[in-house]
Symmetry: C2
Subunit: 323 residues, 2 copies
């Protein structure tokens, strides 16, 4: 690696894949690799494999203190940003209050920064993406969960104990379904991956017609959000309506958040955002209904930069940002 | 007035009363007067009467540039804090985009600061009240409307065009009633004064028993929130349950906000907060259900300082705070 340039190593721990990328200071990924999260069943294996993978890249790319700004890790769970402790980690068994930064420090002589994946996502958009130069923004990742990262006064806002931004757990329907967080009617329980698919399956079982059934040869449990988007593009009315509903729910939740945060931008990323206009159009429509006049005046809704790499970029930006 | 001390004049424009108070630097009101808002029917009369009243106090109290830090005004409506323009003003006819600060400046040679009343309330709590030394807080005023002022990183957060904090207009029920803001299911449409009373009246008409009926000699439209609190104190089950419901709705709305903002404190003021434990107990109970583990750990819910003077104190603090 060129010594004149500074790189950052970003580790994006996702529900299915752990992505690791080496990012240069201009925000370009120069090297990328990944692990299957499902292969990292215990916390010991998780930590061991991540260390091994990082060590390999450090060696292969000749990374030294002078050309690597640091290692940034974005994790789906509750992270103490200041102390580098990961309180809990989705999909890894028995994970509880692990001082991950301290553990990694024993292995690497680089600055190490940990954060919740949605905050990392927001930091990445702020550093290299759609939030550059933006004062206040709501960043949203739509996937199996609904993650949120707030940008307030030009910085990622983390709250009083680093837990801010949980827009997936704002109740939009007092009579709504049970949510994974044990509350009910949360935004996530309407627009999280599995909830979208489950509602679709239920409707198909109730007799609604859709080309999705043929796509999965009648095995409804194989339906994915990607398929619903594909079918929507092929003008399957059921699928278009499915996204319409998701966009509307999202607008209800985000409309309230806009009234509270009064941002210039909503920046939307995550797998679900690939459904594009099918979700953005109803979202925009609902936001017009739900947000107050002054708030709407300055609001822009945009798709995040970096698509599938937004997590890695975000993680790397954590290390690029701090000294 | 003693020259060694600095005062600030606070003007709190309320739905029924305009309160004016002279506050010293320690946060003590040394003089107070008021006008009925209903007597200020047009914008011309409103502006004229407010000017006259301020002028009288300035003369009577011998206020000069050296002993008056400035004039702060809190208004129920949309205020451009930077430009001193009041976009709209509840209860005053034809009010639209009035450059109130500019108008007042022609009459007074003091710094003049205008803000939304909920932001002013938050500023007052930050300067002299329950938010002193607090990093992040959600301040709430419960009255005819539900006002919100956010404290972020130790300062009142106003948003990208000075419209932040509208927690009354977060949807908590997609199927909820129409709200004054034209959306539906907003928190305000469940816990605003008139909605509380209207729901109570409806239930009485549906045959529910309560001592309130006797209190108003059967004239149900005379029921006020204060009466419901009085009856609750006298163990009227209907009234206790009415507040229980309000506290629960409030918990649903604020629970979501806590998950997003992750504050140390929720500070509750406004007329409705006088119902005390009748609203605070169910609120706390619901917050425990709705807020995530990390968030709940550090959260305190407290009653605001200054009760009925919180608006005047807040308005005065606007002038005390800025130079």
């Amino acid at each position: 690696m060129r010594k004149s340039n500074k790189y950052a190593l970003g580790v994006d721990v996702g529900a299915t894949i752990v992505k690791i990328g080496l990012v240069n200071s201009k925000g370009k990924i120069v090297y990328k690799t990944s692990l299957f999260t499902s292969s990292l069943k215990t916390k010991a294996i998780f930590i061991e494999r991540v260390i091994k993978q990082i060590r390999q890249i450090v060696k292969e790319k000749e990374l030294l203190k002078k050309n690597l700004a640091g290692i940034g890790i974005g994790l789906p769970g509750s992270v103490d940003y200041a102390k580098g402790i990961v309180h809990n980690l989705t999909n890894i068994k028995n994970w509880k209050g692990i001082p991950l930064r301290g553990i990694l420090r024993k292995h690497f002589d680089f600055p190490i920064h940990l954060d919740n994946d949605a905050n990392a996502f927001a930091q990445g958009q702020l550093k290299w993406g759609k939030a550059q130069g933006v004062k206040n923004a709501i960043c949203v990742t739509l996937g199996s969960g609904v993650g949120g990262g707030l940008i307030i006064n030009g910085k990622v806002y983390r709250g009083s104990n680093y837990s801010a931004g949980e827009i997936g757990h704002v109740c939009i329907d007092v009579h709504g379904p049970k949510c994974g967080c044990k509350s009910n009617g949360c935004l996530e329980s309407f627009v999280g991956n599995k909830y979208i698919v489950n509602r679709a399956i239920e409707r198909i079982k109730n007799g609604q017609k859709t080309s999705l059934v043929k796509k999965v040869n009648g095995r409804l449990n194989l339906i994915t959000p990607e398929m619903i988007t594909e079918a929507a593009k092929e003008k399957d009315v059921f699928s278009v309506k499915t996204w319409e509903e998701v966009g509307t729910y999202l607008g209800i939740g985000l409309g309230g958040m806009v009234n509270v945060i009064n941002p210039e931008k909503i920046i939307i990323g995550g797998g679900i955002s690939k459904s594009g206009k099918f979700i953005f159009s109803p979202l925009q429509k609902e936001l017009k209904k739900r947000t107050m006049k002054q708030h709407l005046k300055i609001l822009k809704v945009v798709k995040a930069d970096f698509v599938d790499d937004a997590g890695v970029m975000g993680a790397a930006s954590l290390a690029m940002e701090r000294r």
